[in-house]
């Protein structure tokens, strides 16, 4: 009996350890659950902003918070670290909202490095610096049409030799390629069978 109890205990603890390994979770939260330090910026989100929502995300190790809203037809996302320090501000753009020379350079890069590509999402990324206050950074991002971002973050699906992959790519404000990270592609087969 004792042996069985030990075995069950070992099994349960292995199972819980296996589950603890990777708990990716993203959920919508209430404003009151946002870290205290994020209030400085959240209080400055324009009153005319719509669909203001808050999210908490964890990959099991790192935690982050996000405030999302729609303002003058564009989607804004403010990301905070666990303690409430600003990570970045992102604005979702249409390809026509990018400066033409920068977009041309991005397209050229994609054309030369991949057989086929499809841009799924474009975001202008504004990063905090020591020189600019975070309130000013928010103002800068809200007037994105007249202020260049630090980076353009692009979600792009590429096809090479028939193989489909998805990347998150970073380009400079001039459209020069910086880095990329592969994104896991989810299959939606359960929706078509």
């Amino acid at each position: 009996m004792k042996k069985i109890a030990i075995l069950i205990f070992c099994f349960i603890s292995t199972l819980s350890q296996a589950q603890n390994k990777k708990i990716e979770k993203e959920e919508r939260i209430d404003r009151s659950k946002m870290p205290e330090a994020s209030s400085i910026l959240i209080d400055n989100i324009p009153k005319k902003a719509r669909k203001l929502r808050y999210f908490h995300e964890t990959d099991g190790e790192k935690e982050s918070y996000e405030a999302k809203f729609k303002y003058q037809g564009s989607i804004f996302s403010i990301e905070f670290e666990k303690e409430g320090n600003l990570q970045d501000i992102e604005v979702t753009l249409d390809k026509n909202q990018l400066p033409k020379p920068s977009f041309k350079k991005i397209k050229e890069y994609l054309k030369t490095s991949h057989e086929r590509h499809k841009i799924e999402k474009i975001q202008a990324q504004y990063l905090p610096t020591d020189e600019t206050s975070i309130k000013n950074l928010l103002l800068k991002s809200l007037a994105f049409s007249s202020h260049h971002p630090d980076n353009y973050e692009i979600i792009v699906a590429v096809k090479n030799k028939g193989k489909l992959k998805k990347f998150e790519m970073f380009f400079s404000e001039n459209g020069k390629f910086k880095t990329q990270r592969e994104i896991i592609r989810n299959s939606y087969d359960y929706l078509i069978f």
Binding site: K25, D30, R116, K159, K163, S187, Y188, D189, I192, F193
Partner: protein, 232 residues
């Protein structure tokens, strides 16, 4: 509080749909209620080819104004798909329905299916279109064309994580023709609540309302659907 009320609204919507469809269908004469549990296995390879296997069963719960449990068929299906473009797949499938074991007067059915599927995610919303051409080989041969539009939305946050709930709604239009039968039009509406129970495993429980032959001899069916989908 806002989150809570939005969740309550979605659950309320589901219950409302169930109640309305139940009351509406009960009011008509030709009404049946069935259950249709399914198990699906989706295999995605590193190439452009992917495979789907499905096992399901259908039982009648209510028919001819009477509650009566009666097994209707067992079904095995297989689809082989080839990825085209960025978000689409063309598939060829075969389906076998074991009917004779439950009713000696009904022949088993073989169905050949050609399919085009297109699915894409737009922020939190997943959208899928499906066009099917079917040849149903049974006592008579029926040719069927169908189009289904599906949408899936997570109920917590913007993506579906493990153990999280989601909702899937779809509608499908069907048109059947055959040499020995009159052309028939049918419309189906489904709603299901799903959960990512384990990694790569989804479970759904829902309702499907079928309005059959609505231009000729209308009849309606309400299905209680459930599905376990394992993706490898």
């Amino acid at each position: 509080m806002i989150i809570l009320s939005s969740k309550n609204f979605q659950v309320g919507l589901l219950l409302f749909f169930a109640l309305v469809s139940y009351k509406k269908t009960r009011a008509q004469e030709d009404f049946s209620m069935l259950i249709d549990p399914e198990f699906s296995l989706n295999i995605n390879t590193n190439s452009r080819w992917s495979y789907n296997f499905n096992f399901s069963n259908r039982d009648i719960l209510f028919e001819n104004k009477d509650y009566n449990f009666e097994a209707q068929h067992l079904q095995l299906s297989h689809f082989t798909s080839y990825e085209i473009g960025f978000y689409s797949k063309v598939s060829l499938g075969i389906r076998y329905r074991f009917k004779e074991i439950f009713d000696k007067d009904i022949q088993d059915e073989i169905r050949i299916v050609e399919q085009f599927g297109h699915s894409r995610k737009f922020n939190a919303l997943k959208i899928a279109h499906r066009i099917r051409l079917e040849q149903r080989l049974r006592e008579i041969i029926t040719y069927r064309t169908r189009y289904r539009f599906s949408a899936e939305l997570p109920l917590s946050g913007q993506r579906i994580d493990q153990s999280e709930f989601f909702i899937i709604g779809n509608t499908e239009a069907l048109f059947s023709v055959g040499r020995e039968e009159r052309p028939k039009l049918e419309q189906r509406f489904s709603i299901a609540l799903g959960n990512d129970i384990w990694a790569n495993t989804k479970a759904t429980l829902g309702l499907q309302y079928r309005y059959e032959d609505y231009t000729g001899n209308p009849g309606s069916e309400l299905f209680i659907t459930s599905e376990i989908t394992l993706s490898l």
